[in-house]
Symmetry: C2
Subunit: 152 residues, 2 copies
């Protein structure tokens, strides 16, 4: 559970994936800047949920001049393109992760721990929201709060 654990190596598949994303960016009139590339690297390089601040720190390890606001702007852009999802956990900053890593979030309102859960948990909720209200739920972008097993 230590914050900086699992700094999983960038695998060669990631590089292609990053370039794929960048070509999507280009298709939308965007550019492949070093900061953007580095940010994507950080996003691909870790399974954890990262705040903008944490991602900035990771980017800065390679390019110390990249500014926090740049990271925010890029995250916003990448979210607009559907590449990343942001999730507001109950307290603290928003966290960001690749949109492809599909999962919901259970956040304990006592101890703050977060459990990732598969999408199918939301199947029923998604279905009834659609049929009853015509509302299409995106289960990745919010946190479900309550009490975790050890905090009952």
């Amino acid at each position: 559970m230590s914050p900086g654990s699992q700094p999983r190596q960038i695998e060669h598949g990631d590089h292609d994936a990053i370039e794929d994303v960048l070509s999507i960016v280009r298709q939308h009139g965007g550019r492949a800047t070093p900061a953007r590339r580095l940010l994507l690297q950080a996003l691909f390089g870790s399974r954890e949920h990262r705040s903008a601040e944490e991602l900035t720190a990771e980017v800065r390890a390679h390019a110390p001049d990249v500014h926090l606001s740049t990271v925010y702007r890029n995250l916003e852009e990448l979210e607009r393109l559907g590449v990343v999802d942001s999730t507001r956990l109950r307290d603290g900053p928003a966290t960001y992760h690749l949109a492809s890593t599909a999962h919901g979030h259970l956040v304990c309102e006592k101890c703050g721990s977060m459990t990732e859960v598969p999408d199918d948990m939301f199947r029923d909720l998604v279905r009834s929201a659609r049929t009853r209200y015509g509302f299409i739920i995106n289960p990745h972008r919010f946190a479900v709060t309550g009490r975790c097993a050890s905090c009952q």
Copy 2:
């Protein structure tokens, strides 16, 4: 949709309800101050989700000196006592409402509109979270985000 609409009259039942809450507060060593009473009045007086700021404005209509921080402190206290729930909609400030008015929230991430939905929509999710993870979900304290019917 105008912000100040529906300023539903304080009904005589509300007064008793407010005093009931205050006696609970007293049982926990708290006091029945004017600010507290006014805040409860505001909470009872409206079905809408209100931010701390909005509630403060309402309280100030009767007692102009009540400070924003006082309202925050009281909301925190009342939430601790289980009288109110707070919900973080996707953006903007947290909103507060009486815990008794049980419902979940669907928030459109495009137009920002909010739909209140009955608890039973969450039945399945609540059940599988409990059986699979021992996690007890409180459906009132978070917002489910997605696209509303008119924003597909």
